[in-house]
Amino acid sequence: MEKLIKKGAEAEVWLRSWMGIPAVYKVRKQRRYMIQDLDELLRRQRTVKEAKILVEARKAGIYTPTVYFVDLNNSTIIMQYVKGNNMRKLLKEGINKPCFGLGRILATLHLAGIVHGDPTTSNFIISDSKIYAIDFGLSVHSSDIEDKAVDIHLVKEILSADIPEMFDESFGLVKEGYASVAGKDAEHIIERAKTIELRGRYARGQWG
């Protein structure tokens, strides 16, 4: 059994057998457009970071694939295969209810001092009505409001680019989900996300 599930920007994701069970092999392949030193540094850093935070995030109370093995020499993480659809696909089909869950997940991570760093909609998998968070390669340990707010800003950015027709409602659900866990802090963090957006090139204000 061997199947390429996804060819992402950074890594190839294979479904392969590991110790007799089906597993996902996430392989960070060499990027020849970068000079070798930089590429190797990034792949190593991100592989370590991702493996560690997959485990920590689970301890914080969210669903992540179980890590089976890390092969640093090949920048590979072997982990549990989670069968399901990614959130982007569902959103494209007009289903935006999981946005609430996305907000909850981010808030749960933030409370545990973890900032996802790449909360794009394709990094959440819906499986048996549970939402799994994946792709922690850009995650950081931080309790800084600025870092948390960048997570929110990134979600907003991808929703407004990818599903403009459902943006308002979908981002509203993210904010509600976030506030349902983060409570009063949510207000400050969402306010900071607005500041980040206003720092953007040629921005003039107005934010929903």
Binding site: A9, M34, I35, L154, E157, A203
Partner: protein, 332 residues
């Protein structure tokens, strides 16, 4: 208007370049003339000086654009100008010229967003139809895709642009803006990679920490190695985010426009990104990747053919004007 081949005068005046071009509705560029302001060594664009430069060169550039196209002002069907975003004093020169011509010759006036100009002229000249667009210049560093009648931000810099990164680093070495070509020359001679901050956050990037670090290293490291490392680090960030955009959207075209698109190393890296994602790279000719009148004339033409123009007294300028505020009816 349909069916008839019409001509548009476009006036560019957002920053260092004053340009004028004549473009037809078939997308032919009949002429494109420009004059570029340069500040003193070690300094950037002084807005007042740049606007004076534009005012001095405006009539000469206009006359040349008309004579090279072989037409008179009376033959032009409409006039478009860069209404923003950009430096206020510079924008006003272009707007004043455009409004005056519009009023005197009774021609329709079309305000144009400069960034949309880069993207749409890039599409016209490179024949990209529905690309992911990397817009990388002194004013912008962003990845954009069009949907529902707008160019929308997929990812963007969180602080300064790559053009600013190169300009500010170059100025610390006593070059004058735009410094990109000088940095590229230096970088070509660099050999040793010096590690610099690499900051990608999701689909966004940050270059300010990179600038601070690189500037601090001036004097302590070989300047060619520094330029090389600065270019490699910033371009790797651009390429990573670009590859993410291609993988996420599953689009098969990549268009790169803006002043920094003229850099050969960037084009070479993006070519490899495209190979990995089985996409095609579209690069407009180098003389049209930076600021020019044609970008304004062409978008002006598209707006005009979709029924948009304003009265001379309504010809606005807008220093802050994001790409995703502009309705693009021809891409809905």
């Amino acid at each position: 208007m349909q069916g008839k081949n019409i001509t548009m005068l476009g006036i560019e005046s957002t920053a260092h370049t004053f340009g004028a071009a004549i473009v037809t509705s078939e997308g032919r560029i009949l002429s494109d003339v420009k004059e570029v302001y340069r500040g003193a060594n070690g300094s950037g664009i002084h807005p007042a000086e740049a606007s004076q430069h534009h005012a001095i060169y405006a009539s000469r550039v206009l006359k040349q654009a008309l004579s090279r196209a072989g037409i008179r002002m009376e033959d032009v069907d409409a006039i478009s100008y860069s209404a923003g975003p950009g430096l206020g004093p510079c924008l006003r020169v272009g707007a004043v010229v455009a409004r005056s011509l519009s009023s005197y010759f009774s021609k329709p006036l079309v305000p144009v967003n400069h960034a949309v100009g880069h993207i749409e002229l890039g599409c016209l000249l490179s024949k990209a139809s529905d690309p992911v667009c990397l817009l990388v210049s002194g004013g912008h560093t962003a990845l954009l895709c069009s949907s529902m009648g707008k160019w929308r931000f997929f990812g963007e810099t969180l602080d300064i642009t790559v053009g600013q990164l190169f300009d500010q680093f170059g100025r610390a070495l006593n070059f004058s803006s735009p410094c990109g070509p000088e940095i590229e020359k230096l970088a070509n001679k660099g050999k040793k990679y010096i590690a610099l901050p690499y900051t990608v956050k999701g689909n966004d990037m940050s270059f300010s920490g990179l600038l601070t670090s690189a500037k601090r290293m001036i004097g302590r490291y070989d300047v060619e190695d520094l330029a090389y490392s600065l270019q490699e680090t910033s371009f790797s960030m651009l390429c990573e985010v670009t590859e993410r955009a291609l993988a996420f959207t599953e689009k098969k075209e990549l268009l790169v426009v803006g002043g920094v698109a003229a850099n050969k190393r960037l084009a070479e890296m993006l070519e490899q990104v495209c190979k990995r994602q089985e996409a095609t790279l579209f690069v407009p000719p180098v003389e049209f990747s930076g600021d020019c009148g044609s970008q304004i004339a062409w978008v002006g033409m598209m707006h005009f053919q979709n029924g948009y123009s304003v009265k001379p007294e309504d010809g606005f300028v807008r220093q802050r004007w994001r790409v995703d505020e502009v309705q693009i009816p021809w891409r809905s």
